[in-house]
Amino acid sequence: MEFSPEGFALALEAVFQLKTIFWLVAGILLGVGVGAIPGLTAATGVAIALPLTFTMPIAQALGLLIGLYKGAVYGGSISAISFATPGTPEAGATVYDGHTMMRNGYGQKALDTALYSSVTSDVGSDLVLIFCAPIVAAFALNFGPSEKFWLVALAFTLLGSLSGEHVAKGMLSAALGVFLGLIGNDPVGYVPRMTFGLWWLQDGISLIPLMIGVFAVSRMLEQSATIIKSKSITKKIDLSGLKRGKGPHLGFREFLSCWKEIALGFGVGVLCGSLPGLGATVGAFLAFGLAKQLFPSKKIGSGVIEGIAAAESGNNATVGPTLIPLLAFGIPGSATAALLGGALIMHGATPSPRMFSLYPEVVYALFMLLILGNFFNLGIGKFFASLYARIGLLPKSILIPLIFIMAIIGSYVYRGNPYDVYVMLAMGFMGFWMRTVGIPDGPLVITFLITPMMESNFRKALLISRGDWIQALFPSGVAITLAVAAVVLTILAIKFSPSKRVKQEVKEAEIEGE
């Protein structure tokens, strides 16, 4: 992929503006808070912030969303360390060492370790994205409709088989995404299909209401039902050990002594981020588990900085690579990548291999914001971690109405279509029930996003081959390889389920913790 100096200059101009930097910092400030509040994930935060970006130029919009994403991935560790409740699922592995250190009076050191290893891995993962995405995209440019179809099919099977611990439920979620993605006019015949007689479904289900519903409203429904039922009252938690300047800080040499765990976490995280369906939670737990097995002398899990370093670098190293499939193929690697993809589509820069030549300024701006975001994340995390620990205790009775209102307004202002709000609420309700019965929601949103690509490429391939199905599906070695990979990887994913390993890891750590 050729470097575009004009695109680079435009990106520099767009990124190094006061407004863009303001939104990047605002995103990180908000994101660390979202991450620190148990029950809110990076995807929830990005989904809720998405409507705020409708009127912004693309660089500012990306600044806000990337800041939020990075902040939330790191922010989860704050509540994991402070009160043993991971703010986000990916921070779950940080609890074991982090909270033990907190109880032993080393809370500040634990927070420092989480921050430095998060930022180190995040920078590395962004570099992986910057160097790999253009190469992979250049390769993907040679793909015809059949290869693109198989690529999407591969993503479908990976998403289904790797998301969650029950393969059938993951696959079901992916299939439901395809089902929802087909609602609306047929792209060739322009005849309404699956609209159930509702004229406003002819344009299909909008991406933004679906995302807000599934990622934000479903979680709030779940939490409000739980709160009303249990009438739970927030427990008083002592956070006095987290006051700035109290307790020993992490020394530079001490941090460097964890280089092996950080490197391991980085490697695992990059791998998990690149494969659609795995994501940060698996990255963190696998890195933690492997570090415990490979370095038994360090007693990881008993309250040591090495455990935090492995887990945090494992989850943050997924941030960059999760965008590789999005930028190179137009296929999001995770729920948050799907949200960022949605934002790009909304601003007219549809992710695809041609994005590097069509919108180089957007791609370069994205890269710059990813790198810049790490430095702001470092500064904000360093100075405000103890404050965020208190934000993590914010009552749900305040947060839930706030998120409901943001979701309703966000869906309403997206296109000014009143039915979008009803769709959003329906998707929220559906998402709530999916979560209740253990069906993961990530595959649904991602396959919903890629279904038009899958359908159009399949139809194009058949048109090119004049209706010959064999010729349409297997016209080249690449298509055959991708088809075989879809089958083989699915079998491998079922056999060596990383999610199962994570569950096992949690059980082992819980037993040891007791």
Binding site: L52, F54, T55, M56, G160, H166, V167, A168, K169, M171, L172, A175, F179, G181, L182, D186, V188, G189, V191, P192, R193, M194, V217, L221, S224, A225, I228, K229, S232, I233, P395, K396, S397, I398, I400, P401, L402, F404, I405, M406, I408, I409, Y412, V413, P418, V421, Y422, L425, G428, F429, F432, W433, R435, T436, V437, G438, R459, L462, L463, G467
Partner: protein, 189 residues
């Protein structure tokens, strides 16, 4: 594993299960803390989904639009039917795979009140939106936020009112600053 302390993650449905399965599950470390109805197992949920989506498939099969043929030779109903068949297939897999008798923790703890609360909150949000576009953001949203805040546990009316007004004001300010007009309804703003 101590049989007195059940694993919270793996509940096993009993209604369809036989005693041999019970022993195998027990040996594997899964114990039955409580008898749950079969409908709460993955198998029960899977069958509900299979039946619903077979209904959907039949609806597509007999729908007028499904028979139209597009320029590329595909009938309009082809892809919807393929997608529905995929959903039916994976729902069916849920009913026959090795985890078919498992009842996951959330479903085990599910009560009728959860259903009522989730429907009620969704309906309340729908009503709030319905009224908001007619009466205006500034009238409806503070009342909605106040009431929800109160119901969700901030038991002081004054504090809930205060929170309601602050949240509504903040969101109004944020969107207005971003150049987004919120529904004004009967008010001029």
């Amino acid at each position: 594993m101590d049989p007195v302390e059940p694993s919270p993650r793996a509940y096993t449905a009993t209604a369809l299960g036989d005693r041999f399965k019970y022993i195998i599950f027990y040996k594997w470390g899964f114990v039955m803390p409580k008898k749950y109805s079969w409908i709460r197992s993955n198998q029960g949920i899977g069958i509900l989904l299979v039946v619903s989506f077979i209904g959907m498939f039949l609806y597509f099969e007999f729908a007028d639009w499904a028979e139209h043929v597009a320029r590329d030779g595909f009938s309009i109903g082809f892809f919807p039917k393929v997608a529905t068949a995929l959903v039916i297939f994976f729902s069916f897999v849920m009913t026959v795979d090795s985890k078919r008798k498992e009842v996951i923790e959330n479903v085990a703890q599910l009560s009728f009140s959860t259903l009522i609360y989730s429907v009620a909150i969704t309906a309340y949000c729908t009503l709030a939106y319905f009224l908001m576009v007619r009466l205006g953001y500034c009238i409806v949203v503070p009342i909605f936020t106040f009431s929800l805040t109160y119901v969700l546990g901030l038991k002081s009316i004054v504090r809930s009112l205060l929170v309601g007004f602050i949240i509504s004001g903040l969101i109004y300010g944020l969107f207005t600053a971003l150049g987004v007009n919120l529904p004004s309804g009967i008010l001029p703003f």
